[in-house]
Amino acid sequence: MAQTSTERSKDKLLAPDKISVAMTVNGAEARLHVSPWTTLLDALRDHLDLTGTKKGCDHGQCGACTVLVDGRRVNSCLTLAVMKDGADITTIEGLAANDALHPLQQAFIDHDAFQCGYCTPGQICSAAGLIAEGKAKSADEIRELMSGNICRCGAYPNIVAAIQQAMGMMGGKS
């Protein structure tokens, strides 16, 4: 007997099995059961309720989704969660130590380094990665190495000033 169209579409929708993934997220062990196509961004926001990391363009062009994976800044929207089994992830929620803001968080407040704030978690995680890399010294170098984070409110001068303040306070360490 011929398949009905409903049966055919069911066949088409048969999804590959979900995969178990273990990660350390902001210092805590996280166990996830994700589809192969679940991005790290969606895993953080939808599976772990860590909505500080933002979905901007979802194509690696804006930097709003920036998180640290094993200490390195990456675009979580272009990262598949299944590929990060065993990784150590830090998001904006994991930067502060108990009640004390991270120096970058304090510096962004001090310098009014945002307007709408949507790009800010990505900017701060990216800046934490930049300080850990230790390659940027001058304002030109900060601008260049922060170019993967777009701020449509145009808070760039204040963002650069905030990063310079935090860099001075942290002695170049993240």
Partner: protein, 338 residues
């Protein structure tokens, strides 16, 4: 994104076996281009084979005085590697001219070679594109073609290769080491990428079941006289309209050896050995550089929106060779062009 399966390869032989068994599967390493193309429905693999954990992450010195760069070395690690900074600063500079630091942290050496064009019609699945859908036509030729090719294009495709790193690798005469079901082979960099012809769906001469395992650099690094100049619509984090990699070996004021390759102008990194040959034995001055630029651009052809690239390339070549000759390479952070 369509649904797809996922498997992890344990070693290179395993990866080749897995890809050979499933013609609809694709390798994934950094994923910066592939995941994006999958979100756009341009790439629709049935399964991803994760090669990101293969042991291809080292940079090693070779017996002939060169370097072997593992295919999974991230772009950022390569740009900041001490041996690359000291001996191949042209390569370090070109890598830092591309993408953002986040993307460079993710993107692999092998994947950089295999990234697809950023032609907007290739990404737009409702318009014809011979590269995406062979035989459907080229929307760019009569469309918006500001970013498109001026050299080596065909009636079927005027897309450009988007890499900066590959422009430096072409100039440096790199080699690409690949492994497939028939074993290992080494390709000259000039033979790796291809021109579109009437089969623009094929970007490279890599065989379907082969994997890139390493990129090899010869001993000659042109560390004293080089420059990478990238011209684009904004100062950072944009693809090249025209980019130029120039490297010289000078004896007094005379050019002993020259390398010249362009990005953003063709379906592959555009190296012109005839233009290089006209520079050898000549004084390192503006007149020599202009002659080389004219020769390199002899067959350049502009379309409705990109004809400006021909003059931009001509001036860029002269400027970049001048920067190389004066040992004042273009900075990738201080953007003023001197």
């Amino acid at each position: 994104m369509i649904n797809f399966g996922y498997a992890r390869a344990n070693d290179v032989a395993d990866a080749v076996r897995m890809i050979s068994a499933d013609p609809t599967a694709k390798f994934i390493a950094g994923g910066t281009n592939l995941v994006d193309l999958m979100k756009q429905d341009v790439e629709r693999p049935s399964r991803l084979i994760d090669i990101s954990r293969l042991p291809l992450r080292s940079v090693e010195e070779t017996a002939d005085g060169g370097l072997r760069i593992g295919a999974l070395v991230p772009n950022s690690d390569l740009a900041y590697h001490p041996l690359i900074e000291q001996r191949y600063p042209l390569l370090a500079s070109a890598i830092l001219a591309g993408a953002s630091q986040q993307l460079r942290n993710m993107a692999s050496t092998g994947g950089n070679l295999l990234q697809r064009t950023r032609c907007a019609y290739f990404y737009d699945t409702v318009t014809p594109c011979n590269k995406r859908e062979p035989g459907s036509g080229c929307s760019a030729i009569g469309g918006i073609n500001r970013i498109h090719a001026i050299l080596g294009a065909s009636e079927d495709c005027i897309a450009t290769h988007p890499s900066d790193m590959c422009v430096a690798l072409a100039a440096l005469d790199a080699k690409v080491r690949v492994t497939g079901p028939a074993g290992e082979r080494v390709m000259a960099f000039a033979d790796f990428h291809r021109l579109p012809g009437n089969t623009p769906q094929t970007d490279t001469n890599l065989h379907p079941n082969e994997i890139v395992t390493a990129v090899e650099l010869p001993a000659r690094g042109f560390a004293a006289n080089y420059s990478y100049l990238k011209i684009r619509d904004r100062l950072s984090y944009a693809f090249a309209l025209v980019s130029i990699a120039a490297a010289l070996e000078l004896e007094g004021g005379t050019i002993k050896e020259a390398r010249l390759a362009l990005g953003g102008v063709a379906h592959r990194p555009w190296r012109d050995t005839a233009a290089e040959a006209t520079l050898r034995g000549q004084p390192a001055n503006q007149a020599s550089f202009a002659r080389a630029a004219d020769l390199l651009l002899r067959d350049a052809k502009g379309y409705e929106h990109n004809a400006f690239k021909i003059e931009l390339a001509r001036r860029g070549i002269v400027r970049t060779l001048t920067q190389a000759a004066q040992a004042t390479p273009q900075s990738q952070s201080a953007k003023k062009i001197r």
